[in-house]
């Protein structure tokens, strides 16, 4: 089953529309990812089996390929090997139900840029895609600019009107999550997952999120940055720009 989303047409001509290939045999999941990622910056294409994916990879270049490992007709790793053998530089994020360390190591050694185990939150995926594309595109000077806000992804520094804002690691990670999911509602649980990583399963209270978000907001506003981070429905957040 192949679903192709074409929900944008007007901004295709503006600077770089990023092409993303979603290689995933589960049509529901592929459609969700496509719907979430597709906007004026990203255009998504779909491949639901090995042969289709191989054909697309042969014909086109993608900025980012989301690759499931278990596909009808062949393994995702094989596809990855093929891609790297052709010297193609497409960024690849493996999205797989396998989450053992050896699976991750195998994936990264074969040439994947990132590995995200299912189930994942879409904002988390969006953040990974965002940072991968930036990494691929702007090798040495990788700075996200948003009005007077500048985030240097390599030095991991944040400045507002050339004044440095000192953030903790968690606040920095949060900021990146928000920036790469702009105009999207992000739930408390998605943030918790992102903030606590492997520790997530140990803590049941999401209270600690409040403190981090509050501090980030305060620091940005003190530095003179506009109030772009909105609180929605009490516990959700949205980076409005």
């Amino acid at each position: 089953m192949r679903v192709v989303f074409r929900m944008f047409s007007k901004s295709l001509c503006s600077f770089g529309v990023m092409k993303i290939l979603i290689v995933e045999d589960e049509p529901d999941l592929a459609a969700s990812i496509g719907a979430y990622l597709s906007d004026e910056h990203y255009r998504c294409e779909f491949a639901a089996d090995y042969a289709t994916a191989l054909e697309k990879i042969d014909l086109y270049a993608y900025d980012c390929i989301l690759l499931d490992l278990m596909l009808p007709g062949g393994s995702g790793l094989k596809l990855l090997e093929e891609l790297r053998a052709q010297q193609k530089q497409d960024g690849v994020i493996i999205i797989s139900a396998k989450d053992a360390i050896e699976d991750k190591v195998a994936g990264l050694q074969t040439g994947a840029d990132d590995y995200l185990a299912k189930p994942f939150h879409l904002p988390e995926l969006a953040a990974r895609v965002h940072s991968l594309i930036r990494r691929k595109q702007f090798g040495t000077t990788n700075v996200i600019e948003q009005n007077e806000l500048k985030i240097d992804l390599l030095a991991k520094t944040v400045t507002v009107e050339d004044r440095e804002v000192v953030l903790t690691k968690k606040e920095y990670d949060l900021l990146l999550l928000f920036v790469s999911n702009r105009n999207k509602v992000i739930s408390k649980s998605a943030i918790a997952e992102q903030l606590s990583g492997d520790m997530a399963d140990m803590f049941d209270s999401y209270d600690f999120i409040y403190a981090h978000v509050k501090n980030l907001k305060r620091k940005l506003q003190e530095a003179g940055y506009g109030n772009y981070l909105k609180t929605l429905y009490g516990t959700g957040y949205k980076w409005v720009i």
């Binding site: 589960e26 979430y36 053992a100 360390i101 939150h121 509602v185 739930s187 998605a190 929605l232």
Partner: protein, 347 residues
């Protein structure tokens, strides 16, 4: 092939027949000697007294001889029984010792030695069958757990993604948002449980082969550092007394999970502002945290043994600890002392 009982019986009968057979000429000889002696001595004329004396003498001699032969027979039987028994029961004890070393976890079929005794051969055949079916049921169950948790990941991912998408739809009322968030929360919990089940299944299936030497002291220090933000969050203090260098042999990922789970267990079951003590010495690792009443130890380390509405964990953390400890022959134990929960690991 012959019956076990027939075998021993045959030998006993043979021996008894031999002893009795031997005793007949001996009785005859001794009695006739006695008789002759009496005739000569008393010049054939037998008085009533002599007859009485004779019969007393003969009775005495016969009794003595019988006792003697009975003793012989008994001693022989005991000796024979012991020797035969040892030989006859060898295959049984052999099978028994093989069963004793059997470990279902290693799913290695036992090879029984061949025997020419019907009962034991039948016993071995049936044990063989029994063990075979136990192993196959066990393997199937493990594979099932592995596959089931694996297959669940994708639908979970779909639900998760749909909820994330639903969150983007507008307009969304507060009530709808809360519903989505509640569903999210439950889903996250299912995801964690599933992840831990997968881990357990993977340990069961021996997917963690490589054992290396692990510096436990360093591992504990880094784990404590990882937990630092959470400890700060809950204003908890950790008293750590770590001997160094303590090393263990094990798979790094598994040992990390073990330490991680024990520590987070102590943190999670402590009130905000409380203190936790970690102590590491060669062969012993202890986690202590304050508590009011001892925990019920019965199902503490079993899968889903501790799930209740007050402990919203996955119910698998301690089961994982035990599973890892068992794998390396370590013992993990819980006891309550001076108002403290103490989880100790001996390795």
């Amino acid at each position: 092939m012959s019956k076990l009982q027939n075998r021993s019986l045959k030998r006993f009968v043979q021996y008894a027949a031999l002893v009795l057979g031997c005793s007949i000429p001996v009785y005859y000889f001794i009695l006739s000697q006695l008789w002759q002696y009496e005739l000569n001595e008393h010049n054939i004329v037998l008085t009533a007294k002599a007859v009485r004396e004779d019969s007393f003498l003969i009775i005495g001699a016969v009794t003595g001889l019988t006792v003697l032969f009975f003793g012989l027979l008994l001693a022989g039987l005991v000796l024979l029984n012991r020797r035969l028994g040892r030989k006859l029961w060898t295959p049984f004890y052999d099978s028994l010792s093989r069963i004793r070393t059997f470990d279902l976890q290693q799913h290695k079929q036992i090879r029984f030695a061949d025997t020419d005794i019907d009962e034991f051969a039948e016993l071995n055949t049936n044990l063989d069958k029994l063990i075979g079916s136990a192993i196959s049921a066990y393997t199937q169950q493990k594979e099932f757990a592995d596959n089931a948790s694996h297959e669940l990941q994708t639908p979970l991912a779909i639900v998760q993604s749909k909820l994330d998408l639903l969150l983007q739809s507008r307009p969304l009322t507060q009530e709808q948002y809360d519903l989505i968030e509640d569903a999210h929360k439950a889903l996250t919990r299912v995801g964690r449980i599933n992840k831990n089940l997968l881990l357990l299944a993977r340990i069961d299936n021996n997917r963690y082969g490589e054992a290396t030497s692990i510096a436990l002291t360093t591992l504990l220090q880094t784990t404590l550092e990882d937990f630092e933000p959470f400890l700060k969050e809950r204003q908890m203090a950790v008293g750590a007394k770590l001997d160094e260098p303590v090393t263990v042999q094990g798979n790094r990922e598994l040992v990390t999970i073990l330490v991680h789970n024990l520590l987070s267990n102590a943190i999670r079951h402590s009130a905000a502002g409380a203190a936790i003590f970690v102590q590491l010495s060669p062969g012993l690792l202890e986690f202590r945290n304050a508590g009011r009443v001892p925990l019920h130890t019965g199902r503490l380390f079993q899968r889903f043994g501790t799930v209740s509405s007050e402990t919203p964990g996955t119910g698998l953390g301690l089961a994982l600890v035990k599973q890892v400890a068992d794998r390396y022959g370590w013992t993990v134990a819980y006891h309550f002392e001076n108002g403290q929960h103490i989880f100790s690991l001996r390795f």
